[in-house]
């Protein structure tokens, strides 16, 4: 990622309670790796990744790929960093809101995070994708899928059950968010020169990033 040769700089921000796996999810997405050791994020960090967003024409033809540089902000979930991390909310175009499927409190706090976003983001209804992470720990699950899905529907946001450990649904969730942003941009200019999209990534991950994710509307799982 050494040149500025891209078409869009898109900034996302991951948020959620401490320990839900924000850093791990981003690391899995950008590097395809997982580290089970918990290293708390100091305040703020970001990772970067290049993806290609491929637009489908109305006839289903695949258009020219849009080269996207993703800046993925990672925030500390710890309360003590809150004033610092909140300051970054306003600069993100979309949000990846995570909770831990094995930690009910982190799920209950989703509401609070959403109201934080409504207050501090660049607009009142920013694009958010909700992720219930650690889906690989099925035996420790504390949040039912229906519950989480219900909450997501209430807010009208997509929901994914992800696992940073095995990579499940990670790129799907982020690319869904990207799709939402691209559509929002399109609406912004009231012009449909970016039609229905497909995300194709390239970057650090090698094999799994070329899987094209068809646009699936509101929910990708």
């Amino acid at each position: 990622m050494s040149d500025g040769d891209y078409d869009y700089l898109i900034k996302f921000l991951a948020l959620g309670d401490s320990g839900v796996g924000k850093t791990s999810v981003l690391y899995q997405y950008t590097d395809g790796k997982f580290n089970s050791k918990f290293i708390t994020t100091v305040g703020i960090d970001f990772r970067e990744k290049r993806v290609v967003y491929r637009a489908n024409g109305p006839d289903g033809a695949i258009g020219r790929g849009q080269r996207i540089h993703l800046q993925l902000w990672d925030t500390a979930g710890q309360e003590r960093f809150r004033s610092l991390t909140t300051a970054f909310f306003r600069d993100a175009m979309g949000f990846l809101l995570l909770f831990d499927l094995t930690n009910e409190q982190s799920f209950l706090n989703v509401r609070n995070w959403i109201s934080q976003l409504q207050m501090h983001a660049y607009c009142e209804n920013p694009d958010i994708v909700l992720c219930g992470n650690k889906s690989d720990l099925e035996d420790q699950r504390a949040v039912k899928e229906e519950e989480a899905r219900g909450l997501a529907e209430k807010y009208g946001i997509p929901y994914f059950e992800t696992s940073a450990a095995n990579g499940t649904n990670i790129s799907q969730a982020i690319e869904m968010l990207l799709d939402l942003i691209m559509k929002r941009m399109e609406r912004c200019v009231d012009k449909s020169w970016i039609p229905e999209g497909v995300v194709r990534s390239n970057g650090h991950t090698s094999t799994d990033q070329l899987n094209e994710v068809k646009d699936k509307g509101a929910c990708g799982c």
Binding site: G4, S83, T86, T102, N103
Partner: protein, 629 residues
């Protein structure tokens, strides 16, 4: 409930420590309180912010190229990210990036702790006001001219006479580092279609954790860095002349002098002469202002000037000390410059490969004869120039400008590249500039395009003023008086007198002078003289001392001295002067009050250059100080 790893023990949503919990406008107006961060945490965050600044710098280059090459407004809006900025600006009135806010907040924390490493040992003696040996007006003026802008043309000091390159600029001194920002609506430059290079690669090659905006400033020839022991500022106020220091207060406390405490307190009125600046209006004003600097009433121009400074997110503006005032030839800035930087360790040489420019403005009837000039700031003798390319708005230079400089010094340097139209029969015309802080430069990057930036529009010369204020200033670096004294850098103000005051209605005035050293505008740090009654030439003869200032802090600070008419119920501000480098920003944040006039900047610069000496000024008490917020 089964949990894995580190359970979240949050549920702390109602903590009062969340400053942004309430109200529809989430942004704290000021800096964040980051005092809870440890040094290590600060360093880690600083590193992240540095990477972000680098990414933004590249993004800005990309966006400016787009603006020049794309015509479809819709497409442009999307590709540049303007759609986002527009939405964001409807909600967040200040344009600060979270990164900048945090950066500035950390910087403030650092400065108040006094972590400046070096310790100065200077034999310069402490001269009291009574000694008044140094810094006559003439000397101050002369010294100032070395560095500052001037309204009138003058022969450049470092130019061979036969070259006749009478640029309207002077050798700049470096601004505090303000990171380049991506694509605000104010984006001015327009480049033509150009191939993009410029690495997005995150810059991690430097281990130093220095993030303070003013870091490189400390490498300036200012001879007396300090070691600041205490916390916060110590303020001493004493009437009359020199007396012993020795009152050391922790925190922000002011000692009232007897005269002042003897008179009515709490009778200050908050002045509010101006409606708040609308930063949105800035771009238009800036353009117009540059087209026709001579038009418009002085007040408007001053306001537009300061608002432009505060809204244009560019490092280049902050260093722009050049007056284009009265330049009928001033042309709007546009275009980009393409260059590469390479450091050759063997030769200890910085090589600036100036490749080309694209989309330059036409200085003369659709033509320009451009050349590129560089300075390796803060070295003002470091001018290098390319050849002149005649009749070319997209000149290809392919020249290498070389600087012999130790590698270790690079992080403290700023490369200034400015583009000029060579005018054979008159003064050369400024076409734009970029400033590249080398501390965040990615040395592995490919050649980079950066948009050319305008300089600050001139402050009008015909400011309306309420009279003149005579004062002397002195900066006493820490340790400069021997035996570790003073313990931190001290800023001395000797408010002498005001002259030629214009009364409000009829008759006379009861006046006093109030001083604040911004960004600290707290009540506790305000100091005042006594009230001198019924005089249009009041003599105050009052000194005030502020401490806790390292040399780098002085570059970020602005001393505001205002003259007030003392009323029984409320006082009224009559005018004032703001002494600063006038960069438009302080600790990385754009602020309206860094709006010093050339004259004021000159005095402050002289103060910086002559520690331990009184420097004298006689300044107009301006009535157009931009509102502080």
């Amino acid at each position: 409930m089964p949990q894995r790893g580190h359970p979240s023990q949050e549920g702390l949503w109602a903590l009062p420590s969340l400053p942004m919990e309430h109200g529809p406008e989430p942004e704290a107006e000021g800096l964040l309180d980051l005092s809870f961060l440890t040094e290590e945490e600060q360093a880690a965050i600083a590193e992240v912010l540095k990477r972000d600044a680098h990414l933004r710098q590249l993004e800005e280059g990309r966006v400016s190229k787009l603006r020049a090459s794309l015509v479809d407004p819709g497409q442009l809006k999307i590709l540049t990210g303007d759609w986002f900025q527009e939405a964001r600006s409807q909600r967040h009135h200040h344009a600060h990036f979270g990164s900048d806010l945090v950066r500035a907040s950390i910087r403030r924390k650092k400065s108040s702790r006094g972590t400046l490493p070096e310790k100065g040992a200077h034999g310069a003696s402490h001269l009291g006001p009574g000694d008044q040996a140094v810094g006559s007006d003439g000397e101050a003026e002369a010294a100032g001219k070395e560095n500052e802008e001037e309204p009138e043309p003058r022969p450049p000091i470092d130019e061979a006479p036969q070259e006749r390159l009478q640029e309207t600029e002077g050798p700049d001194f470096p601004p505090p580092y303000v990171p380049l920002k991506a694509s605000d609506q104010e984006e001015e430059p327009q480049a033509q279609e150009a191939p993009g290079h410029g690495g997005v690669q995150v810059c991690e090659e430097k281990a130093d954790q220095e993030l303070e905006p003013a870091s490189r400033v400390e490498k300036e020839p200012l001879p007396a860095p300090d070691q600041v022991g205490g916390s916060g500022l110590r303020l001493l106020s004493r009437p009359g002349a020199d007396s012993g220091r020795g009152v050391l207060l922790p925190g922000l406390r002011a000692i009232c002098d007897p005269v002042r405490s003897g008179e009515g307190k709490g009778k200050r009125g908050r002045p509010c002469h101006f409606s708040p600046l609308r930063t949105k209006a800035a771009p238009k004003i800036l353009e117009n202002g540059e087209e026709a600097p001579g038009s418009g009433p002085a007040l408007d121009r001053m306001l537009s000037s300061s608002s432009s400074v505060s809204s244009l997110n560019s490092s280049t503006l902050s260093g722009s000390l050049v007056s284009l005032s009265g330049e009928a030839e001033a042309v709007p800035v546009r275009g980009s410059v393409h260059f590469a930087l390479h450091y050759e360790p063997g030769a200890a040489e910085l090589r600036v490969h100036v490749i080309q420019c694209q989309g330059l403005a036409a200085a003369r009837r659709r033509r320009s004869d451009p050349y590129v000039k560089s300075y390796l700031l803060p070295d003002k003798q470091s001018k290098r120039k390319t050849a002149v390319k005649k009749r070319n708005l997209n000149p290809v230079f392919n020249e290498t400008l070389r600087y012999c400089v130790p590698q270790a010094e690079l992080p403290g340097r700023v490369l200034s590249l400015s583009v000029w139209h060579r005018e054979s029969l008159g003064r050369n015309i400024f076409l734009g500039e970029v400033e590249v802080p080398l501390d965040t430069w990615n040395w592995d990057s490919e050649p980079t395009w950066l948009p050319l930036q305008p300089r600050v529009p001139p402050s009008p010369d015909e400011l309306s003023s309420r009279g003149l204020l005579s004062l002397s200033l002195k900066y006493v670096p820490a340790g400069s008086e021997g035996a570790g004294l003073p313990p931190s850098g001290e800023l001395h103000f000797w408010v002498k007198e005001a002259q030629d005051l214009i009364p409000l209605r009829s008759g006379s005035l009861d006046t006093y002078v109030q001083c604040s050293v911004l960004p600290d505008d707290s009540r506790a740090s305000r100091q005042r003289t006594r009230v001198v009654r019924r005089s249009l030439s009041p003599v105050f003869n009052h000194t005030m001392v502020y401490d806790g200032f390292g040399p780098a802090d002085l570059r970020q600070a602005c001393a505001e001295l205002s003259l007030w008419d003392h009323g029984a119920l409320a006082s009224r501000q009559l005018g004032g002067t703001r002494l600063s480098l006038g960069t438009g920003s302080s600790y990385g944040l754009e602020v309206p009050w860094m709006d010093s006039t050339p004259e004021e900047k000159r005095l402050w610069q002289t103060l910086l250059e002559q520690p331990c000496e009184w420097v004298d000024g006689r300044l107009p008490l301006r009535t157009n100080l931009a509102p502080r917020t």
